[in-house]
Amino acid sequence: MIRALIVLSALTLVALCTGATTITPLQVWHLLLAHNPQDFVVWSHRFPRSLTGILIGAALGVAGALVQGVIRNPLASPDILGVTQGAGLAVAFVLLVFPGVGYLPFFSLLGGAAGAALLMAYNAGIFSPVRFALSGVAVSATFAGVTQFLLLTHPVEVNTALLSLTGSLWARGWPHLGLLLPLIPLMMVAMTLAKPLDVIALGEDTAHALGTRLRLVRWAAITMAVMLTAISVSVAGPVGFVGLVAPHLARRLVGGGHLRLLPTAGMLGAAILLAADTLGRGIAPPAEIPAGVLTAVIGAPYFLWLLFRTR
């Protein structure tokens, strides 16, 4: 857990230094202390953007750990549940068909919940990890396809929409941080599920025998994961695979106890997204590669490997 925190702090520093103009850590420190709204590099651009990345990455990591804990399926994550793309589709729909309506986090939540509900209903009562993952990928691909269709048929509004739907942190700043603030209490509330999730890992019978209210815990964990993911998607668009990879890495680092697993998954999720964003900014400045593209490039092969191993 301490190691994950150190990695995250180091990455934050690198993120603040890297970009179209590279600056030294010492300069960063002075600029941060200055709180100068005229400072267009660190204080009003890279710093809030990094904070946005940290919050979103952490939310996705925690959401992934919640879903994996409650569904007891190594392939489960908010992306595979259809939450990420469902939320993305809802955001695209509102932006393109009803531009100017606003309330994006709300619609994102609706879309994410609909995606999760669809998948849970389809897999109700069946416990096959592979079937679950495959149907989730199919549902997600359908949502993504419809999103693409909307983008192609509404060329005029596409610019703003693309900004929200590419899974990117580009131009995210202080106003977006306000939208993300609910993530912090949500992640703290998620910690109360640590003990029931530990017990659920021992199987349904033991969870019952140890006094866990399984239905309530399942419901609470999925709801929280949907909310965390949907709020993230409403700001950055669908960022794939962070919610899948971060909990896996965290489990290797700190083991299966959720009291340490949940915060570690959060920190690693934050680190992954921040690293992807920094890399995307640093490869060929001033052009940028969206963070979501980079997480997918690393995450998709990892998912395939997991799928292969689960057989």
Partner: protein, 259 residues
């Protein structure tokens, strides 16, 4: 005799056909009850209904004289513990962590292991002679070790009623006898033990009370002497066997006849 568990008119099942139909049965308190019957006759299903994994279709279940559906999850977990027949392999937790989870009905929201909890965990680890496994990962244990570690978790829960589903399956003969003696020790301290056993001789020798199930329901229940009869074994297991007193302590011993 008071009853630890009493079921009345109980019907249980997974799909349309019930596994157990209209079962009425009492489990005596502070006794060792052996639950025996052929594979697939519903022994596990019956135990699962007591911890509420398996909701009844009809009938009622009382635990210590209280109706089960009036008890909170936590209250039930402080009275009844359960060792499943199939043990999942939780990833990335140590034996000590696993055994500590047995304390969860007694500790707070965060599952913090306090002094009394730690003392109980140490006690059961020592009792089962697995203190040296405490730091090992559960996913790296052998089948028999895993079964004893899970049993430690169940004992750490420290409940008045202990349900064990095939607790001896993966154990060598030495540890099987250890387990049966442990069950006797628990009963001597006033606890109720119900165990699914497949070795009839072990059941008749160590248990106070025998419950025989066959497909669909109860064949009979009573003391080992009453239940260990040639017609009973023919009815339940379709075997032809004779019963002799065992030379060590005179309890019924089953010998299968030549075909």
């Amino acid at each position: 005799m008071t009853h630890a568990i009493h079921v009345e008119g109980l019907t249980l099942g997974y799909d349309r056909k019930p596994v157990i139909a209209d079962l009425t049965l009492s489990i005596p308190a502070a006794r060792f009850t052996a639950l025996i019957g052929p594979n697939g006759c519903g022994k596990s299903t019956l135990l699962k209904s007591v911890i509420r994994t398996m909701p009844p279709r009809a009938g009622r279940i009382d635990v210590m004289g209280q109706p089960l559906n009036a008890m909170s999850a936590r209250a039930l977990a402080r009275q009844v513990s359960f060792l499943p027949q199939v043990l999942p392999v939780p990833e990335g937790i140590t034996v000590r962590q696993l055994v500590g989870y047995g304390r969860s009905p007694h500790n707070n929201l965060w599952g913090r292991i306090r002094g009394t909890d730690r003392a109980k965990v140490d006690e059961v680890l020592a009792r089962l002679d697995i203190t040296d496994l405490a730091g090992r990962m559960v996913d790296g244990l052998s089948g028999g070790q895993r079964q004893r570690v899970w049993l430690a978790m169940v004992l750490a829960q420290n409940t008045d009623i202990v349900l064990l589903d095939e607790p001896t399956t993966f154990l060598d003969i030495n540890h099987q006898v250890e387990l049966l003696r442990l069950a006797r020790d628990l009963v001597a301290t006033g606890k109720t033990v119900v165990a699914v056993l497949h070795d009839l001789n072990q059941a008749f020798r160590y248990a106070d009370h025998i419950v025989m199930l066959r497909n669909g329901g109860l064949s009979g229940c009573g003391s080992p002497d009453k239940m260990a009869t040639t017609p009973m074994l023919r009815e339940v297991f379709s075997i032809d066997a004779c019963i002799h007193p065992d030379p060590e302590c005179g309890r019924p011993m089953v010998i299968v006849r030549k075909p």
